[in-house]
């Protein structure tokens, strides 16, 4: 516990000035000092001890970025003295606590609550570093402080802005499943049912054995195979730290990963998510369809970009360890020439040989604006640089395509939908 002086307490010492003016001597000085100390001491003796206060917290829990969560601090005063408190709950700034400092009065034997509203501005875990309780003396001349141990945590989840696109994609998924009859048999489809032949059906889908048993011609119908395995690999290396628009590339990538997770779960597929750069950071594996979306949201919310290069061989090893053949592998990494040269290409071709592979990349829409600049020489040089960057990206994307990967390159707003559409296209084509 610490004792400290308040500003009014220090200013009361000015009251000694007339005495010093009347009797200017060292003894008066001493007497004034003693009198002032006595005044402060008397006031302090009547102060409620902040160490005896019981402080408890109702944690705000989890909140999506962009919305608010409520928490409470409950302060109980078990003593008999009235406690005039000045409370500070020291959260980190991006936790968005509306008011860190509160003044409140807790009469003896009573309890008061401090309502807190959190509007976090950064994804990830937030915590309260300390709770400082100052107990003001009755005259307000001094205070006693204590730091009770009241841990506080708040998990700010990814905003998942693309969830508004989920209903339309699910509808298309249902249409796909409903159109199962026109599907050809192929890899990634499974037997659905037998029905009577109608004009227009492919003769190759006639089930001759069943036709022989019955009088009419019977066809087999197929539907997209369910219960496939989807592995989403999110690259968290330095390239994911780049800011596009208002948020880092990683956030857009996670947005796409979440939409794909939600959609694939609706389609009956199993989704695993792996965040990796030099080492695997977070993985969600084997979650039940009910909880997988929440698990992925909660697990990826603390993930931040790291200033390292991705070890693609490591990625290949992790993918091999987590999947069987023909699991859909989605790599969320920017298609950048430097990155592709750093070993993505051979790994991608190896992965594409055994899995359907989708490489989803967050493109930078501001490049197009740069490429259209024609105002002066400076703008034209910039346009040339942007054009060159675009060409290099195209080249890298083509190289990946030649390896057998499906490349989805779109801006941060459009990528989640584009990736979901690519998934639906693969599903409809029976390529899973």
């Amino acid at each position: 516990m610490r004792i400290s002086l308040t500003v009014p307490g220090a200013l009361t010492a000015l009251a000694a000035a007339p005495f010093l003016l009347l009797w200017p001597s060292a003894w008066t000085l001493l007497a004034c000092a003693l009198a002032w100390c006595a005044l402060i001491g008397t006031d302090l003796l009547r102060t409620a001890d902040p160490r005896t206060l019981r402080v408890r917290r109702e944690n705000p829990g989890q909140v999506r970025l962009g919305s608010s969560a409520d928490g409470r601090l409950l302060v109980t005063n078990p003593g008999t003295r009235r406690a005039v408190l000045h409370l500070r709950d020291a959260w980190n700034p991006t936790a968005g606590l509306a008011a860190q400092r509160t003044r409140l009065t807790v009469p003896g034997g009573e309890r008061r609550a401090v309502a807190q509203t959190f509007t976090p501005t950064r994804r990830g875990p937030h915590s309260s570093r300390a709770v400082v309780v100052d107990s003001l003396s009755p005259w307000g001349l001094a205070r006693r402080s204590a730091r009770p141990e009241v841990p506080g945590t708040l998990l700010a989840l990814h905003a998942f802005a693309s969830r508004k696109h989920l209903p339309s994609r699910v509808r298309r998924l249902r249409e796909l499943e409903g159109l199962a009859a026109v599907h050809q048999r192929g890899q990634g489809t499974e037997f659905d049912s037998l029905r009577d032949f109608v004009d227009g059906d492919d003769v190759r889908s006639i089930d001759w054995r069943a036709t022989a048993r019955r009088r009419s011609v019977v066809v087999r119908t197929w539907r997209p195979e369910r219960d496939r395995h989807v592995l989403v690999v999110v690259d968290t290396s330095r390239t994911s730290a780049a800011r596009i628009g208002e948020e880092p590339r990683l956030d857009a990538a996670l947005d796409a990963a979440l939409l794909l997770t939600a959609l694939a779960t609706e389609a009956g597929d199993r989704v695993d998510v792996l965040c990796i750069d030099r080492i695997p950071h977070v993985s969600v594996a084997g979650s039940s369809p009910r909880t997988v979306l929440h698990d992925v949201v909660a697990a990826t919310s603390p993930v931040q970009p790291a200033l390292v290069e991705t070890d693609w061989e490591r990625v290949a090893a992790e993918v091999a360890a987590r999947t069987r053949r023909h699991a859909l592998v989605v790599l969320l990494t920017p298609v950048e020439p430097s990155l592709v040269e750093q070993g993505l290409l051979p790994v991608a071709s190896r992965l594409a040989a055994s899995h359907p592979l989708v490489v989803a990349s967050v493109a930078d829409p501001s490049l197009e604006a740069l490429a259209a600049g024609r105002d002066d020489a400076e703008a034209v040089y910039r346009a040339a640089a942007a054009a060159r960057t675009g060409l290099e990206r195209d080249g890298a994307a083509q190289a990946l395509s030649r390896c057998g990967a499906h490349v989805v390159d779109a801006g941060p707003e459009a990528l989640p939908q584009a990736l979901a559409d690519e998934y639906l296209r693969l599903k409809a084509a029976g390529r899973l």
Binding site: T12, L21, L29, T102, E110, R112, D364, A377, A383, R388
Partner: protein, 404 residues
Amino acid sequence: MSAGGLLAPAPTSGPAAGAAGSSQGGAEQPPPRNGLLVAVLVLALLATVMVSVLRGSYRDGPLEPDAPSPQGSLAAVRVLEDLGTEVTPQRRTADAAETLRAGGTVLVTAPNLLGAAQVDLLRTAREEGGGRLVLLQPDFVTATAFAPGVRPAGTTDEPTLLRAGAGCGPAAFGARSLQLRPVAEVSGHDTYYTVPDGAAGCFDHGDGSAVVVADGVVVLGSASLLTNDRIGTLDAPALALNSLADPQGLGWYIPSAGDPMSSLGPTLLDRIPGWAAPLALWLLVVTALVLLAVSRRHGPVVVEPLPVSVRAHELTIGRGRLMHRAHARDSAARALRSAASTRLAHRLGIRRETRRDALVDALAPHTELDAAQLHRLLGPTPVADDRELVRLAHDLDRLEKEIS
């Protein structure tokens, strides 16, 4: 732990009521305390002002002619003025010398502070004008300088009762008995002086006399003859008034640091009143306390490691600036041309890997430009300067617009 587990007996401690109470309790608390503080401060300020006003605007110090304090000499000055002597407070040696030249009387309240030049000036002025000089407790050097033969014979710091002896003559100044007491503010002791031949001494004590008159120079051995609190005792008024009264006027000369002739040392401190030092010390302490109170931090500084964030197109802009600075016009033109070619090929449905000839052949029917111009536009034609590069970019734009 349930919310009810901590409930106090008071009825207001439900969660909702508690939350409301906390905000109200916090809001109503500070004003009365602030009011009290303001009242205390205002009272302190008023008391300080009152004290300084009641003291009046006089200069306090030992034997100051305006000071009504115990160590001042306002009483003697008032009575002298009532008796017809014009008393002039003097701070400069030149003024005092002027009075002496005019034949008046000058009282030097602190002759020991005079430098050699000042002593010389006063002595010659007295010899020229024939005025009278009254010295209060001069030391050996000063006493012998003004009145040769007069020198301190002894001191005492005890109160002493003295009576005028038989051979006093003019040195008694009409007084018969004196009660002397050292004045702490002046010297802290009384001095007795030897009486040379041809001079008159009175109020003997031991080997010396408290009052010596030698050739127009009066030496007084005790400051208690002139201070407000002691002048009323026994015959001190008679001695003070008789020795100082002069129809030619009395110069009340207080040697000071402001005198141009003064050789006194660090005398600025002498001007500071006595209460200044303790008060300044106290204010210093109060300032330190206030700073300490203000600078107190309420809990720790919270540092938060924020993720790095770089705008994605910084690299491209940097590359553009680099090309500009290096005047890499050809490489810029190449990038613009191949980007445009790629887009055109895409629009015309040609494979992008095709040669330029094929692209030009496909373009020719759709544009006004002939094949040579198209080759110049899309081919590796050198670019002379920046203006030409800008024109090239515009030409490519126009071509793309025609095709679309």
